[in-house]
């Protein structure tokens, strides 16, 4: 990849934007998954122990 070619800024921008969007999506998905499963864990243990 020759970084001095013209319009190379657009290539970098495309890859940067792709990285940002995909990273954001991964973090959001994993975050929601961890949060909700932890909540289910907490609710299950809460309900199983005798009130």
């Amino acid at each position: 990849m020759d970084f001095s070619a013209n319009h190379v800024g657009f290539v970098i921008a495309s890859y940067a934007l792709t990285f940002l969007c995909l990273a954001g999506l991964i973090i959001a998905t994993l975050g929601r998954d961890r949060k909700l499963r932890a909540q289910v864990e907490r609710l299950d243990t809460q309900r199983r122990k005798p009130r």
Partner: protein
């Protein structure tokens, strides 16, 4: 189809498979990016900007692929009354929408050096734009209807109707485009490509597909947990 029906079996499989899927995704991306940025030669016409193709084309493929997955899941949900299929369709939509947005954004970034404008109503970009609206409509239906069961039934119809319309929109936009613009000299996926330029594209396509698989399984796991929480809340409220 009954095999995947109950969530617990699905969760067991998902938990087992996910680490490997993530590993494959990372490996594919490494190879793909290396191929796209290093080994692939610059295009004699467009120079380095052709490398945008390696993030644009897979995103476009995935935008269409994910909507197909949503339509299939909705069909399965409608025919076999599969609650898990609805979950699959609902969780796939945001991921598909991000791929669709990426294909539009990278398409625009690719178009600027080529056409001098950030956005041109080229046939491919216009169809992709309409697909984006289909995604927004589908997600809006889920957001608008509170009760999950009714929302699921309505969303199935929206996904299937949307899916039937994709080829119709594609055909009419291509016809409309040829009406207004002479066949655009510039083809979005580059002149017929082969060899060192082609394999990185296929690898990147695979990488995107595995990324979708990993994200989709994770998102479904989260949605199953969310629904379980809602049930627990309803049960707790019902007790008094």
């Amino acid at each position: 189809m009954q095999f995947l029906a109950n969530p617990t079996r699905f969760l067991r499989i998902a938990n087992a498979v996910l680490p490997y899927v993530w590993a494959i995704t990372v490996a594919l991306f490494a190879v793909g990016l290396y191929g796209a940025l290093v080994t692939a030669p610059p295009d004699y016409q467009q120079g380095e900007t052709v490398r945008i193709m390696y993030v644009h084309v897979p995103a476009a493929w995935m935008a269409l692929f994910v909507y197909t997955v949503m339509a299939l899941a909705s069909a399965v949900a409608a025919i076999f009354r599969h609650p898990l299929a609805d979950v699959a369709a609902k969780t796939a939509a945001p991921i598909g929408a991000v791929f669709c947005f990426l294909s539009l954004a990278t398409g625009s970034l690719w178009g600027k050096p080529m056409w001098g404008a950030w956005w041109v109503w080229d046939a491919r970009l216009t169809s992709m734009f309409v697909l984006m609206l289909l995604y927004i409509g589908y997600m809006a239906i889920w957001a608008a209807i509170e009760e999950p069961h009714r929302a699921a039934m309505v969303a199935r119809v929206v996904a299937l109707v949307g899916f039937i319309n994709i080829p119709i929109v594609k055909f009419s936009v291509d016809w409309w485009n040829s009406l207004h613009q002479p066949a655009s000299v510039f083809r979005m996926d580059g002149p017929t490509i082969a060899g060192p330029m082609l394999w990185p594209l296929l690898v990147m396509g695979l990488a995107y597909t595995f990324l979708f698989l990993a994200l989709h399984l994770t998102a479904m796991r989260a949605e199953i947990a969310a629904r379980k929480i809602r049930q627990i809340h309803i049960a707790e409220i019902g007790e008094r």
